[in-house]
């Protein structure tokens, strides 16, 4: 484990990305504190800060940026954009990360069991995975959301639904990888020495699976943010006035010419999140793979100075 941290620390890009992710999470957690510092909240209307006769465009330059409204205000309502952005981070990041955890957990369990189990287990689990992959995510999500009573906390529900519906791809990748790993010497040796399946899965398979799974998980997060946005747009996701980046994007898309910052803030936040997670995921994968360092060094001319 210490080797892993050392390898991760050696990659500057991954460190910057880790810092960015940490900052985003921190901002999301500290949303009430940050908005209190600004003196605003995400739901109060400020009709005096928008020009009603001009479609509700924010008054003043750059979308009404001022000392009181750090990122300006939302068109048509005058709600504070900074407050909505940081509160939106809670919903978007929270839902997407939680959904990804659920997806990865189910996907890894099903994938390893299918790849490592006997023929019947593999058949049943693989066909179940095929069904899940084939099912249209939105339709299934809509159906699930419709049957749950309205009292259930929405963000939790959205995360669970996305997680329970879209784990098929993870399971497929994990199964394929497991089947390959099963043939390798160190796994075969473990089996011959009489280790139980669970122990082999934990000690021999999971570490080797970490690289592809983490890389894929880093790509799942942005996809999940988009699904949350789509569900919210259809009215079954997070309910207004609770802000989320996805909701902000859908209502801002028509404003890109008249109030571009309204679209640019959530889009920028999403971009930074996706980029940071992807770079971090790549860094973690490299750090976990003992051979990656030597492989990556080939042809770069950095071979000798690199710390080994």
């Amino acid at each position: 484990m210490t080797l892993f941290w050392r390898r991760l620390r050696e990659q500057r890009a991954a460190l910057v990305a880790a810092g960015a992710v940490a900052l985003l999470v921190l901002v999301a957690l500290a949303a009430p504190l940050l908005t209190a510092l600004e003196g605003q909240d995400p739901t109060t209307y400020h009709p005096d800060l928008i020009d009603s006769a001009r479609g509700g465009v924010p008054v003043g330059p750059l979308g009404g940026i001022s000392g009181e409204h750090w990122l300006g205000v939302e068109p048509q309502t005058g709600r504070d954009l900074f407050a909505r952005l940081v509160y939106g981070a809670r919903v978007s990041l929270g839902v997407a990360l939680a959904a990804t955890v659920v997806q990865v957990f189910i996907g890894v369990v099903v994938g390893v069991a299918a790849g490592f189990g006997n023929r019947w287990v593999d058949q049943v689990l693989s066909r179940a995975t095929d069904v899940i992959v084939a099912l249209p995510l939105m339709v299934l999500a809509l159906a699930l959301m419709a049957v749950v009573p309205s009292g259930f906390p929405r963000p939790v529900l959205v995360a669970l639904v996305i997680g329970l519906v879209a784990w098929g791809n993870v399971a497929k990748i994990v199964r394929a990888q497991t089947v390959t790993l099963k043939e390798l010497d160190h796994v075969a040796a473990a089996r011959l020495s009489g280790w139980g399946s669970v122990r082999i899965a934990r000690r021999e398979l999971l570490p080797a699976l970490a690289a592809p799974v983490i890389t894929y998980a880093a790509l799942l997060v942005p996809a999940n943010i988009t699904v949350e946005a789509a569900l919210s747009f259809l009215g079954v996701g997070v309910k207004p006035p609770t802000p989320s980046w996805g909701q902000m994007l859908t209502s801002a898309d028509v404003w890109y010419q008249a109030a571009p910052q309204y679209l640019l803030y959530p889009a920028g936040a999403l971009f930074v999140t996706v980029l940071a997670l992807t770079v971090l995921g790549d860094g973690v994968r490299t750090a976990l793979d003992p051979r990656a360092a030597s492989r990556l060094r080939i042809g770069t001319g950095r071979g000798r100075e690199a710390h080994s």
Binding site: I50, A53, T77
Partner: protein, 345 residues
């Protein structure tokens, strides 16, 4: 006349038999009219804003500017001079189902009428250029019999104090939690933006509003069903012809409550006096006298607080820079192509 793709494109030529001497209504300025249909509204507005080539002589019959498009157009003086304004007999309102608690209590309905903040609703609908506040059910045009009244004056920003008093009288001094049903259509009429604005205003009167956003078809099915009609929801009504009749009769005539089909009498009003008055006015042949009585009837029905009128829409439409004589009909809300002229270039 040439037709391509079953009406997707029509080319209309000048009628050689038309004469200004026999037709006082139409102008017939253009020699040909090239009709295109099936275009996306944002594409139409983009093309009219650019006014490139043939688009400089183009008009749209019924594509309105949205709030964001209006913001962009009004930021450009040249473009802003190519915007036509029109009206249509149309009212967006909050509807109560008095069969659902607590809306069976007139005091609760009145409290909500007082608490509504029409300026924030209008902002959500696109701002003061695209919507006018409504306190009457009849649209604000004489032909509908519009008679001014405001039984529960909320002012431009709502009167939460008065609303609280009424709630207290109704026994809800500790506040009230209600559900507002709306559609998820992006129409700025029954959409989430309007619902959120109402939610924000009622909060000031101590009313917690839960929003129930429904998919468009689901929403339409529910609000027009006698059995499933929600207690409080966003609704709208437009006239078939400019008179008070097609406005008041379908919504407030008790004999028009449709049990097994699409019902529009949302407040389930079945009042003999109202029904009889509707019959009486329908017999009148003097349109002005009829209009006056429609207005009086609207004012009387308004006292029951079965609806909270919110706003009447205003239509803003772009036209190409070479087009003149823009007339948007107050009856249909559609740009009148028979009046349009094109500058020779």
């Amino acid at each position: 006349m040439a037709n391509e793709n079953d009406g997707e494109r029509l080319r209309l030529e000048r009628n050689p038999h038309w004469s200004a001497a026999t037709d006082a209504e139409r102008k017939a300025y253009p020699d040909t009219i090239d009709v295109r249909s099936g275009l996306d509204s944002s594409v139409i507005n983009q093309r009219l804003a650019a006014s490139q080539g043939a688009d400089a002589a183009a008009v749209t019959t019924d594509t309105n500017l949205g709030p964001a498009e209006l913001a962009k157009v009004t930021g450009d003086k040249e473009l802003a001079s190519h915007v036509g304004t029109g009206h249509f007999g149309y009212t967006n309102y909050l509807a109560f189902n008095p069969k659902v608690k607590p809306f069976d209590d007139p005091k609760v309905r009145q409290a909500i009428s007082y608490a509504v903040d029409r300026s924030s609703v209008i902002n959500a609908a696109g701002g003061s250029s695209l919507a006018e506040p409504a306190t009457t059910y009849l649209p604000n045009q004489k032909s509908f019999g519009h008679t001014k009244y405001d039984h529960f004056p909320a002012g431009p920003n709502g009167n939460p104090k008065k609303a609280r008093e009424l709630l207290k009288e109704a026994g809800h001094q500790d506040g009230l939690t209600i559900t507002l049903t709306h559609s998820n259509a992006k129409d700025f009429e029954t959409s989430p933006e309007i619902a959120t604005a109402i939610q924000d205003a009622l909060k000031k009167a101590g009313i917690t509003v839960k929003l129930e956003g429904l998919e468009e078809n689901d929403y339409a099915d529910k609000i027009h069903s006698v059995e499933d009609e929600p207690g409080l929801f966003l609704s709208h009504w437009g006239a078939d012809w400019p008179s008070g009749g097609p406005f008041l009769a379908p919504i407030f005539d008790g004999r028009q409550i449709v049990k097994d089909g699409a019902n529009f009498n949302t407040g389930f009003l079945d009042d003999k006096a109202v029904n009889d008055e509707i019959d009486e006015i329908n017999k009148l042949t003097d349109l002005d006298a009829a209009a006056e009585r429609w207005g009086a009837l609207d004012k009387k029905i308004g006292e029951k607080a079965l609806t909270v009128p919110l706003f009447h829409p205003v239509y803003k439409r772009l036209y190409g820079k070479d087009v003149h004589n823009i007339v948007i009909s107050d009856w249909t809300g559609v740009l009148d192509v028979s009046q349009v002229a094109v500058k020779q270039s």
